[in-house]
Symmetry: C2
Subunit: 303 residues, 2 copies
Amino acid sequence: MSVVAVGSVAFDTIETPIGRVERAIGGSATYFTLAASYFVPVNLVAVVGEDFDDEYRGVLAGRGIDLNGLKVVKGGKTFFWEGRYGQDPNERESLVTELNVFDGFRPELPEAYRKAKWLFLGNIDPEIQLEVIGQIEGRPLVGCDTMNFWIERKPDKLLAVLRKVDVFFINDAEARQLSGNINLISAARTILEMGPTAVVIKKGEHGAFIFTENFRAFVPAYPLEEVVDPTGAGDSFAGGFVGYLAKAGELHELNLRRAMYYGTVAASFTCESFSVGRLKSLSQEDIQDRFKALVDLVHVQLE
Amino acid sequence: MSVVAVGSVAFDTIETPIGRVERAIGGSATYFTLAASYFVPVNLVAVVGEDFDDEYRGVLAGRGIDLNGLKVVKGGKTFFWEGRYGQDPNERESLVTELNVFDGFRPELPEAYRKAKWLFLGNIDPEIQLEVIGQIEGRPLVGCDTMNFWIERKPDKLLAVLRKVDVFFINDAEARQLSGNINLISAARTILEMGPTAVVIKKGEHGAFIFTENFRAFVPAYPLEEVVDPTGAGDSFAGGFVGYLAKAGELHELNLRRAMYYGTVAASFTCESFSVGRLKSLSQEDIQDRFKALVDLVHVQLE
């Protein structure tokens, strides 16, 4: 089962205590599609400028990602972000954000994408997320991410999106903000009532929870001795999660629990290099080995 | 196999967003011994004042804790602490600390305790921790806790203690401070080189890691919808951990992994009420049910 993913493709200039990279490929849809590409065919819907040359396209095409939905604006410039991380990978400072062609992006799904069974909506304007859902024929399975900006600016539209979402990804601070609950379990319960079948609360280096009506589960982040660059970890998590789930089929507990682990695996590889250095070149064995290491981390024998 | 535990017994006045309790029983050794008492016989070494009356003694005696090592100073007052928690249970403010009889506490182990196979040293002056180790005949298994105060004031003595410790409990901030490493895996490796067989790094609501030369493992905190009072959670963790391990016998991986789960179970019960309200009155079924719920939280089926 293939996945259609809508989000940003960007150039990132990133500085961390370990080093610096300039105009590397980034953006939520880049991380998402690369992570998902290890599980199922992926179709990308995004916009770039003319400066997004063949070398950059090759990163995505090299993983077999369908780029028919990647719109190129002639004479336009690709979304650019510059940020810096301190010693604590959870604290980052945005130095430059130039939306460029991403400003006013109205995704149009190619005809071939409109029968998608799985749709992932990256963190974009919830009005546009609704438009995209409307472009799909029938009722797809929908994964969705958002951010504090939209919770504050367009809460009603976001709630309208949530009524059509199957798996909702949100970080802990945003879950508290959206629900008005400080406690994450209460927050998850409140958000579940907004519509999603499953709520995944991402806590960065502290792992992630999933809550549904029937069960709750937790997976720790994979412990890394060196976090080179955490940019895109959350989007990679969503990519590994949705990619695995689209491959596995049904949204039942067993699959959702495994999806949590595959999401974590993808996020951990992303953190091991700048940009998508590691994420773009994994083997199935790399993924399975880390999945097993992660399971082993929490393993305990009952008595 | 019984455990001898040395630490503080105190009166705590605690305010949290949920309520307030005055002069409730507290102190590191109180939480530790109660948690450990569900697994093995426990011998307490601590000091209190005359104001520590039969009602308070009864809390400990009611769990079968041996109080022959609980020294009562005539005319003295018991260690008193007052603190307040905000909405975030990880942030607490100390309002009053009156050491009283705990000031200058020099533990003397009753003869019957000196053949102990398991010794737990709560967070006290490392010089005194060394003295206590010296009072045990032979080479006991030693669990040990500390805090930033001793890392700053008596690093050399603490290092001398660590060379005699089997399981060292420390929180994440203290692990970074003691090791000089920001990354917790690097921190754990550095601390392992100081002597302990196992280092347990406690991260509060974010769970705990254990590191040895041969394996590493993680257990999440048990998710609670309402944290009534987190005081003593870390000491309860150590009590459940050491209690289980003393019962299980050898310090091998299988037992250490289970000990992490039992420590977490004990800590979760402590957080569910003020003081030791819940911790003092558990059934073996309560403990087993929560152990299973915690295992279920991270459970995943391999493919």
